[in-house]
Symmetry: C2
């Protein structure tokens, strides 16, 4: 596996790059814990009520599955950048996000589902207003163990990298 | 305060309705707790590292401020519907969301900031595919104690209501 592009840029900053960034199994206990704090709807906190709902079974808050993408994105990029650092290559520093678009949850994430998260870099350009910073755009998704999409969105993020 | 529109619909289902749905003060401890689980970037988990970052001070994950909107939305609608139920008016049951658009975090939410959340109903139509269900669209926002926008997005959600 190449840990840097020919230009020395982190792979994930190169438009066209796509990859698996990590997976997570959503257990009932953590689904309920997140939902009690942030999204206490019956189908997220009560298995019996969930069975009577349109969802049919206990499922995770959409904010939970989206937040877990963020965690996998962070873990993936940090591990990758740490590997590069061993070869003396500079780190990329993540900053604010200009925003997200088309955030969708095509299927519920049920208790016990394992979600695999994927990123695809669609663009990366230098910021005009902030020298040294880049604006990276990506398409991201999550798929369950049946290969069904459960999360899709497009994002942008600011990245500091010395080129 | 009117707890129902003249047609008996919950206020928040009537296009044009807008209102304050709740507020939350983001303390450093909970900012760090959420971020350690879902968004462990230096400026969300370490006050000293945050001061050296583009943000300048410890601030909440965007997923945290968005998830808190969900909590306030839930609490607001349930309290409102419970009041209506005292007058024998039916409940509206929330279901899946067709998606969110233009999710933006125009300013950071710093430790100690109090965010006030607002919703505005922009459309509400009957679902063609699911009798008894409606699709409600809204614009939502969060503002800090300086009246600066810190969160904006457009959303849609399915709602079961007997009309």
């Amino acid at each position: 596996m190449n840990h840097h592009s020919e230009a020395g840029l982190p792979q994930f900053m190169v438009p066209g790059w796509s990859g698996f960034i990590g997976e997570h199994t959503f257990l009932a206990e953590e689904i309920v814990e997140f939902a009690k704090a942030y999204d206490p709807q019956p189908f997220h906190i009560d298995a019996q009520a969930a069975r009577a709902s349109l969802f049919g079974s206990l499922c995770a808050s959409g904010w939970h599955t989206a937040s877990m993408w963020m965690r996998k994105q962070r873990d993936y990029t940090q591990k990758y950048l740490a590997e590069r650092a061993k070869n003396g290559l500079p780190a990329a520093e993540f900053g604010p996000s200009p925003g997200f678009e088309n955030l969708k949850w095509p299927k519920p994430v049920y208790a016990g589902d394992t979600i695999r998260y994927f990123n695809q870099t669609t663009a990366c350009r230098k910021s005009r207003s902030r020298p040294g910073w880049h604006i990276m755009s990506a398409r991201s998704s999550g798929k369950n163990q049946h290969d069904e999409l459960v999360l899709t969105f497009e994002s942008a993020v600011m990245l500091k990298y010395p080129v």
